[in-house]
């Protein structure tokens, strides 16, 4: 059994001299003081658990810990504490209505609006940068760099193998674009029914390359004022033509549900689009308005 440094139970002289009226409260105070002194002086090696238990038991005996928690009284105390809150809020509200506070509030709103506007501006600039760097943020199929436009592989469904009227490496001339399309068994809206008056008649040829068929037409004067071309590609590899362009980006032109890309290159306007596994290109030294009219004429029923 551990011994207290000052054990009242063992009745030393000091204890004997204590007046009989010494209250439990005072004993408890003395005991607690002894306990604190002991607890602060004892080290880990000499720690006596039994003495600790004895201290705690004696203190419990002199002043038992209360175990009478009353939830009702705690709730009432809480209500009493928060009862002053609405008043405090009203006071604050009144203070906010002062002209000075209103101005602060307006300033805060103004800076927030500026922040939002600047964020939107940065987002727009980022999109422009992406476009300038060759990423079509609206489509992802067409791409362009500073000086070329091309279609990225993908999104083309596999097609039935075409029947060619020519063997691989052979070349043939046709009277018209329609004749060539018919010869290659291509039943798609590709042939324009309108070209500017100053453009001569088409000179049309077709060939079959290892990578697919190709039909090319250009105005008869050979000045190269206007060219028309359809090139087949395998769905696996995708289209492969790189189109020269100047600093301006490509822009989309919708006609009859088909997206066409309009590319400018120092006076030479080019339109390119994909239909099935065919890349179509119309290019020439005509105005953009004329080019759009040529495109529209492809879909018009004559």
């Amino acid at each position: 059994m551990a011994e207290f440094p000052h054990d009242k139970q063992h009745g030393d002289d000091k204890t004997d001299e204590m007046p009989e009226t010494l209250s439990d409260e005072r004993l408890y105070t003395e005991l607690r003081k002894d306990f604190v002194e002991w607890f602060e002086s004892v080290d880990a090696e000499n720690f006596d658990e039994e003495l600790l238990d004895a201290f705690l038991a004696e203190m419990e005996e002199l002043k038992p810990l209360g175990n009478n928690f009353d939830s009702q009284s705690s709730l009432e105390a809480f209500h009493e504490r928060i009862s002053s809150l609405p008043a405090a809020l009203s006071e604050n509200s009144a203070q906010m209505s002062t002209p000075e506070k209103l101005t602060q509030k307006h300033h805060r709103l103004f800076y927030r609006a500026i922040t939002v506007a600047a964020t939107v501006a940065i987002m727009v600039a980022t999109m422009m940068t992406a476009q300038a760097l060759g990423v079509d943020v609206f489509g992802f199929l067409a791409k362009w760099t500073n000086d070329i436009f091309f279609f990225e592989n993908g999104q083309t469904e596999s097609q039935e193998p075409r029947t060619y009227p020519l063997a691989e490496g052979e070349r043939a001339e046709y009277k018209s674009i329609d004749d060539a399309l018919m010869a290659f068994d291509i039943d798609l809206p590709l042939s324009p029914s309108w070209v500017p008056e100053y453009v001569g008649a088409w000179k049309v040829s077709g060939t079959v390359m290892p990578s697919g068929m190709q039909i090319f037409a250009f105005t008869e004067d050979e000045s190269g004022i206007l060219t028309w071309e359809v090139s087949e590609f395998t769905p696996k590899d995708g289209p492969s033509i790189a189109i020269e362009k100047d600093a301006k980006g490509a822009r989309q032109y919708e006609s009859h549900g088909q997206t066409h890309y309009i590319i400018e290159d120092n006076g030479c306007n080019t339109a390119s689009w994909i239909i099935d596994n065919i890349q179509c290109i119309i290019s020439g030294f005509i105005t953009e308005e004329e080019l759009l009219k040529v495109i529209d004429s492809i879909y018009e029923v004559v």
Binding site: T115, E168, A242, E244, K245, S283
Partner: protein, 146 residues
């Protein structure tokens, strides 16, 4: 107030930085004087045969048009690394160049090793009254097969 000013300044600086990138890109753009559009393709056929075809269209009729040079690259590790295995020059292979508004031919074929990957870099060239210009074009990768 000070904090908001800093924020707005930062956003403004970012905007200016992005705008300058766009301007720099626009300034460095260079279109061709004589080329209109072009492409090149490697196609794998039976018994390891590989064909290189090219299609080059000039802005106007050209005295010379086609591919002036073709580098062929081979890979034996599934396309991770490539090394040059052949070079073709139009001076040695006249079929690589033609004349007119358009060149569209299959001037090169070679036999590759079955299972190896191949790609080509070609120089598309057009010589006309408007100028003499060459642009580099890289084909997609093909695998030689039986």
């Amino acid at each position: 107030m000070k904090k908001a000013f800093k924020r707005v300044s930062c956003l403004l600086l970012s905007f200016l930085l992005l705008s300058s990138i766009i301007c720099a890109n626009a300034a460095s753009a260079r279109s061709s004087s004589s080329l209109r559009y072009y492409s090149a393709n490697l196609t794998a056929a039976e018994n390891g045969k590989i064909f290189l075809d090219a299609s080059v269209t000039g802005r106007t009729p050209c005295s010379k048009i086609g591919i002036s040079m073709a580098y062929i690259y081979e890979s034996d590790d599934g396309g991770k690394t490539f090394s040059r295995c052949a070079t073709y020059y139009s001076s040695d292979y006249p079929a690589m160049m033609g004349s007119g508004l358009k060149y569209s031919f299959t001037p090169i074929s070679f036999t590759g090793t079955i299972g190896h990957q191949y790609k080509a870099t070609v120089l598309c060239r057009a010589v006309s009254d408007l100028g003499d210009d060459t642009k580099s074009y890289e084909t997609r990768i093909v695998t030689a097969h039986r």
